[in-house]
């Protein structure tokens, strides 16, 4: 493994340069995680067999090995869950003193912290993301969200001065597969803090952390029915959306499904928030701190294999520094370590599903066909599992599909600009508007750009940074409603007159 010709360096003689330093595997142990063979639906504080009698298998995308049998909740199952949530809402949760609600949330946050290693392994096993990310990003942030909203529970009237915030009732929440536990936290924490109960459907491919979360709920002794978890594919989600006794739907996922949900809900009086796709612009000006900007580009698009709705998938580089940035970027890409998500040294893990891998593959092919120049660093992929080499496209025209459509994979399209106005015009020229990044040393330019970029989040000299106190959400086809911060409470409270 180590090739190194040891020679005693005499004076004036050059010492040997090692030919390789391959890091030995450093896998996180999966022994701390125990999965049941099959899981039921978590309804009213207990696991119930699905009335639908349907099941499917959830897998480890890095090894294509089955992890557990998951229930596919049908109409009757969703109905049971909503009933349990309604009962818990009316009889227990909404009657509880807000400071008591806060105690439960603090308890959940602490348990998540205590069990974070276990949850991190589950996220990486079921989702394919590197353990470094689930350990250092997903878990700390998920716990932080519960801590943050626990603090709001008994201070809601300060969040909405001169109004009287009241809970709305039962929230139906549907979350995606890219940050399963973190998205669960984003959804459940504000809903519970405001006094609502929830029925949450995790993504079809990544249900395990949500099912393990049921054990946290049990440990925290949350009253039964306050949190209900129903698993299944899009059909389950559709049942939840159209259930008449759900007061609010919160959805994070694709724009296509988001539009369908909005059509279904039209006229129903149900509240809706959508956090949908994105095609964010990451804009690098010529005075930017270049090495850090390159880290920001890498973090913007290869973080979580690019399975990030706010990924910086369109890179705009000022033409005068184009070559420098591209050469630095390519060099940096060569050091990305793609492989086993459980290895602590892995930077880029497995693609979440076969379906997603195929989608990425076909969009990348379209980029090649349309004439963009592709670069992929040399990289040995494991034989089994779903993998995609980090990819960058140069010579991309604004009209190419890879510059327009959300790829949701480790694929970056590079475009150039000459002036700030051109950067803004091109950056805004997309149906999406979730996020953007600006890299420059000039503070005034950051503020000017942030004002003109039509995106819910604008990062300055950083990318993909999250904080529970900071609201997150989109413009245009990236959705509406905000999660995080004081703004994140708003979708979960009824204010007088509304």
């Amino acid at each position: 493994m180590i090739k190194d010709k040891r020679e005693v360096a005499r004076r004036g003689e050059a010492a040997a340069i090692p030919t390789a330093w391959e890091y030995a595997p450093a896998p996180e142990s999966r022994e701390i995680v125990h999965f049941e063979d099959r899981y039921g639906l978590y309804i009213g504080g207990q696991f119930l067999e699905p009335l639908s009698n349907e099941r499917y298998t959830t897998i480890d995308p890095a090894r294509e090995e089955p992890l557990a049998e998951i229930a596919q909740a049908g109409k009757a199952d969703v109905d049971r869950a909503v009933k349990a949530a309604r009962e818990a809402y009316a009889e227990r949760w909404s009657q509880l003193r807000p400071s008591e609600r806060a105690k439960y949330l603090f308890r959940i946050a602490r348990i998540l912290q205590e069990r974070s290693r276990e949850f991190a392994v589950v996220e990486s096993l079921n989702g394919g993301k590197p353990i470094r990310e689930s350990r250092d990003v997903d878990l700390p942030l998920a716990a932080a969200h519960f801590f943050y909203y626990a603090g709001w529970a008994d201070k809601l009237e300060y969040a909405f001065p001169n109004r009287t915030p009241r809970p709305i009732g039962v929230a139906g929440q549907i979350i995606p597969w890219n940050f399963p536990l973190l998205m669960l936290a984003w959804k459940i924490a504000p809903a519970l803090a405001a006094g609502n109960t929830v029925v949450l459907k995790p993504a079809e491919t990544t249900p395990l952390s949500a099912l393990l979360f049921c054990d946290v709920v049990r440990q925290a002794e949350l009253p039964p029915g306050v949190v209900n978890i129903v698993t299944g594919d899009g059909r389950t989600g559709a049942e939840l959306v159209s259930h008449p006794d759900v007061d609010k739907i919160a959805f994070t996922g694709s724009t296509e499904v988001g539009k369908a949900i909005q059509r279904t809900l039209a006229g129903s009086g149900k509240r809706l928030t959508l956090e949908l796709g994105g095609k964010a612009a990451n804009i690098i000006f010529d005075d930017a701190p270049l090495d850090q900007a390159v880290e920001g580009i890498i973090n913007g698009i290869y973080f979580n294999q690019g399975h990030v709705c706010c990924a910086g998938s369109r890179l705009f580089v000022e033409e005068s520094i184009y070559e420098t940035v591209i050469s630095k970027l390519k060099r940096r890409m060569k050091t990305l370590r793609v492989g086993d998500p459980l290895d602590k040294n892995t930077d880029v893990g497995a693609i979440n599903s076969k379906q997603q891998l195929d989608k990425i593959g076909s969009l990348v092919q379209s980029g090649i066909d349309e004439g963009a120049e592709i670069y992929q660093p040399p990289c040995k992929l494991p034989e089994r599992g779903y993998w995609f080499v980090p990819t960058v496209f140069t010579n991309v025209a604004q009209s190419y599909r890879i510059a327009q459509e959300e790829i949701f994979g480790p694929v970056l399209s590079v475009l150039t600009f000459r002036t700030p106005d051109e950067a803004i015009e091109k950056a805004n020229n997309t149906p999406y508007g979730l996020s953007a990044g600006v890299w420059t040393e000039k503070g005034s330019r950051i503020l000017a750009m942030a004002q003109k970029l039509r995106a819910g989040v604008v990062w300055a000299n950083t990318y993909n940074r999250f904080d529970p106190a900071s609201p997150f959400g989109g413009y245009k086809e990236s959705g509406f409603g905000r999660e995080g911060g004081r703004h994140g409470l708003e979708p979960y409270v009824a204010l007088d007159g509304s």
């Binding site: 190194d4 360096a9 010492a15 340069i17 030995a24 701190p289």
Partner: protein, 313 residues
Amino acid sequence: MATAPVLPGGFELPLEPRLPRLGSIDAVALEERAATLATRSIKKGSKVFALDLAIRVMDLTTLEGADTPGKVAALTSKGIRPDPSDPNIPSVAAICVYPNLVAYAVERTRGTGVKVAAVATSFPSGQSSLDVKLLETREVIDAGADEVDMVIDRGAFLSGRYAQVYDEIVRVKEVCAGRAHLKVILETGELGTYDNVRRASLLAIAGGADFIKTSTGKLPSSATLPVTLCMLEAIRDVHEETGRVVGMKAAGGIRQAKQAVQYLVQVHETLGLAWLTPDRYRLGASTLLNDVLMQIRKERTGRYQNPDYFTVD
């Protein structure tokens, strides 16, 4: 490259956006990158490789007012054969001492491949005249030092007299040229910002430094991972633009094997394998060696041994 036209007011107008531009550093992002690299988990064979390398690139250092020929002799023996019970343990790269003790170190290292580095130019403060600094440099080279570790004049740097700093480096380099390697100590703990660290790095490289070095080790804040990353990136930019190879020396505050591995990982992932040699990378340390030896033996035998099994020198 065309030379920059001088405008009436004396402003220089760079003709190229790249090389003449100093570039800037974003502190938050730099520290984040350094912290991420520090999470690399280096185990088993790859750890043994790193520990072995840590010894081969080590400048075993003693810079105390109480240094004596006896102390230097002991340290030199340790550097040549760090672990007498294990012939596979390599020698360190160099012994680093004060000017007065160079002759003793030279005598003891003769024929061993271990080099002698001497701090000079009124180390550690650099607060004396250029003549004194040049004289000292000449003396240590005449005494047989292979490498000169000079300090920059931070007073001049911080008051914006960059030309003076540059000029001193050039003059010291003239004395060293062809006879000794020049390491330029920036004393980053006194520079205040990463932008200054980058500026000083480029200044030192422009002045002819063979190595740039973080610290004297005489300040509470010495080498840190973000500081060394900042310097490595400057070295990388110069190499990319001009092909010139500059070495890096991290010094001060590196006491544990684990830290040494983190520094080496950083070099590996920033500049690549070519810099993982004593010709291009050094770790300056006075107390690191025994911890590295202890870790190597732990990797070999599976258990930690009593520190008394490792000589204190």
